[in-house]
Symmetry: C2
Subunit: 229 residues, 2 copies
Amino acid sequence: MDGPVTWQSVRAEALRRIHTREWPPGGQIPNEADLAAEFGCARATVNRALRDLATSGYLERRRKGGTRVPLTPVRKATFEIAIIRQDVEGRGQHYDYRLLADRLAPPPLAVRDALRLPGATPLRMVRALHLADDAPFCLEERWINPTFAGPEVRFDTISANEWLVRNLAFSGGGFAFYATPADASLAEVLMCDRGAALFAIDRTTFSDAEPITAVTLTYAPGYRMVTRI
Amino acid sequence: MDGPVTWQSVRAEALRRIHTREWPPGGQIPNEADLAAEFGCARATVNRALRDLATSGYLERRRKGGTRVPLTPVRKATFEIAIIRQDVEGRGQHYDYRLLADRLAPPPLAVRDALRLPGATPLRMVRALHLADDAPFCLEERWINPTFAGPEVRFDTISANEWLVRNLAFSGGGFAFYATPADASLAEVLMCDRGAALFAIDRTTFSDAEPITAVTLTYAPGYRMVTRI
DNA sequence: TCGAAAAATAAGTATAGACATAATGCGGCA
DNA sequence: TGCCGCATTATGTCTATACTTATTTTTCGA
């Protein structure tokens, strides 16, 4: 591999040094200019490689402070959040959707807090069931800031999930993944036993500092969320 | 904001056009050279901005094919996979660790498949409990390729989780998140009711094409895995 | 001795120019 | 008609240089 020095090759070599402890955990590595000289490439190439390693958690960089190998590595995994219809169709199953409820209501405290909303602003509450091959797949329970989706936006044919992803600008938010037992209502809607272990996701989304929506997605038993790195 | 054109400002403007549908879903956007001319900056600056948007799922780029806005956006979330000790300590709790079993055994079929192992190679099976403030936090059930961690590596004081992350080079693998009911054995170890809904992660890791380890982490009830974007 | 100002340092970023690479599509040949 | 290969094109990347910014270290004065 003697040809042109690519940023990938620099990254590979840096990774090798990290793994062989030639660059030990907690230690500082040479600066970009020195590495560029050593590898016989431009500093920008080294920069790109080290920046990439930093976003993956293999290195920590600070201006003037230099670049160091973290003592306790924190690997970063990326995974894709598709809309539910795509998730179902990607499994080769037939997707269907059923709107169960859609009304204005005062949100529970937990939702108010998560969205950092003042007072008792009523929010739009949407409850809908996503189906795969006519079996319950996922229950969507969502609170929407009516500023972003007024009553003229109907969720009877397109899910709120899909409408929001397609129509709004997201700039931040949080996720939580957890397991929850099926209560009577969940068991009925998802057609499973009471107490069944269900995979669930809480998500909040903001546009700048404006709260858009908080949602709980509860999946039917057996659902696995997968990703590769 | 009239000063120098930064790649962040180009990204912000591009994102605005995507959200306002000035660049509609499914449509192709102008090429880098044209945008650079329009914004009065170098093509590299535009490249950096669009590349960043592509990794976040807002754009799709193909050589020669140009750059287009995806019809069905797939948002990408990154989250951090810390070692369990860090996870516990990050919550301000006292971490403890107990090794329950460590022996060579033939792996179950599911593990053999996940690691793409031929024949009936015996693997090292490690079962350990992670504790937070002396309460069960997470059960680790792991199968390790003995090539990477022979018997001289002891897991009685440091967890396999931590040893592997610190000592081995990872180059790929997969994750699956799901909910599972506590069976008798899980209920006993995690000190919860039988049938309780537990959050679990299956993970496989490889070094190039070499299988390293497959692990199931099953968390005590109430665990939430959180991240922000 | 303490603290504030100045210098030094390393990463972050912008630029212009060049070449590489992967698709695409078109034209020509069988 | 059908297929191969070449020209075209947009992104991908490297280089060399310059300037910016955050942060640490040094220096110098009170």
